[in-house]
Amino acid sequence: MNSSVPLIGRRAIAFVSHLGSTFLLLFKAVYHFKSIPRSLGLIVDQCFMIGNKSIPLIVIISVFVGAVSSWQAAYQFKFIGAPLRYLGSAVGKAVVIELAPVLSALVLAGRVGAGIAAELGTMRVTEQIDALDSMGISPIRYLVMPRFLACVIMLPILVIFANFVAIAGALLVSVFFVDISYETFLNGVRFSFSFADMMGGMFKAATFGAIIGIFGCHEGFRASGGARGVGISTTFAVVISCVMILISDYVIAIILFRL
């Protein structure tokens, strides 16, 4: 290695080239969308794997996300003396735009992203991916595209689900602990609800799904050297997905939700 380039510079170059190769994989996955018709079975399988098995997890985190945001908002409303009939408005908007998409995505990066990276990583180090190549079957079409697409499709669906559960959780806390009626709370939610916000939240969810899917696949494909290598790739897939989710959340916010 060239020692005149300081360590930090080398790290930065390595990181940028890593992101570059992730983008390349993304383009290849999108290119293989042309084979969606004959890969439907694979895609549906993946949607099922990602969606169905994530629902219990989403229910649990969403109840508590809704509950704590209601509690926290009421606490702050009391401090600044805001009328509690707006509690539902504040909580509803926060859940739909920010909390449900981001927190669901972070948890699913752990569940789904890690699962993809570990599965593909194991396939890589046991030559299963080479075997696909050797049979003239594109591993990108057969493995990456269905997983990527399933993440992009399923994240928004799971987030819609998370929205309902979180608002129900918030409602329970408001009724039992904050002392407002459920009508007041729901009127507040309705008052602030906008279709555009909802779409914004869905767009975020789809983006986060793309991030989880593509990094899971990319890190899995790069795994080398056996069980240890698969472990390293899996960890990295989760960490990089979480960081990218939060960065893209900010970028989407300043583009979609102008002040």
Partner: protein, 162 residues
């Protein structure tokens, strides 16, 4: 006789380690070739050059007079469908059954209908002495059985090169 596979002065290093140093050879149609050498001398690496799983550092590999290194991805896949490869570790897809493994190239590469696939799979499994194991998973097989399933998969498409 026409040469089916040709290696032209192929070099391959892994980091500092020199594995292939100027390999040139030709394999004719219907010819059987045995590559012998010490463990770790580069036999598997040599084989993986034939279907482009590994690209040479310099030199070129030709299959039916097409350069594997400069081929488009699509053409490469077509060539690969004509090459059966048995991996040292068998490399069966462990999420698929034995039957699905053997029939994989027939389904995803050649798009044969289900019935035809099932017949070919049964025929090839019979050839390797594993009739009736279609619905078992690779994890339920012994090492030798996995190897034989790998062989059945490699010959499923009746490739010209094995």
């Amino acid at each position: 006789m026409d040469t089916l596979i040709k290696f032209d002065n192929v070099f391959k290093n892994f980091g500092e380690k020199e594995v292939l140093r100027g390999v040139s050879m030709g394999v004719a149609k219907n010819e059987s070739v045995v590559v012998i050498g010490q463990s770790g001398c580069g036999k598997s690496v040599l084989l993986k050059h034939i279907n482009g799983l590994i690209k040479p550092d310099s030199g070129a590999v030709y299959v039916e007079n097409n350069n594997i290194g400069t081929m488009k991805f699509k053409e490469l896949n077509t060539v690969r469908q004509n090459i059966g490869m048995l991996f040292q570790s068998a490399a069966l897809l462990d999420s698929l059954t034995v039957g699905e493994n053997v029939g994989l190239a027939l389904k995803e590469g050649m798009h044969l209908p289900e019935k035809e696939r099932r017949e070919i799979v049964a025929e090839k499994l019979a050839l390797v002495g594993l009739s009736g194991t279609e619905s078992r998973f690779p994890s339920e097989l012994s090492g030798g059985m996995k190897k034989r399933v790998g062989l059945a998969r490699a010959i499923a498409t009746n490739p010209a090169i094995l």
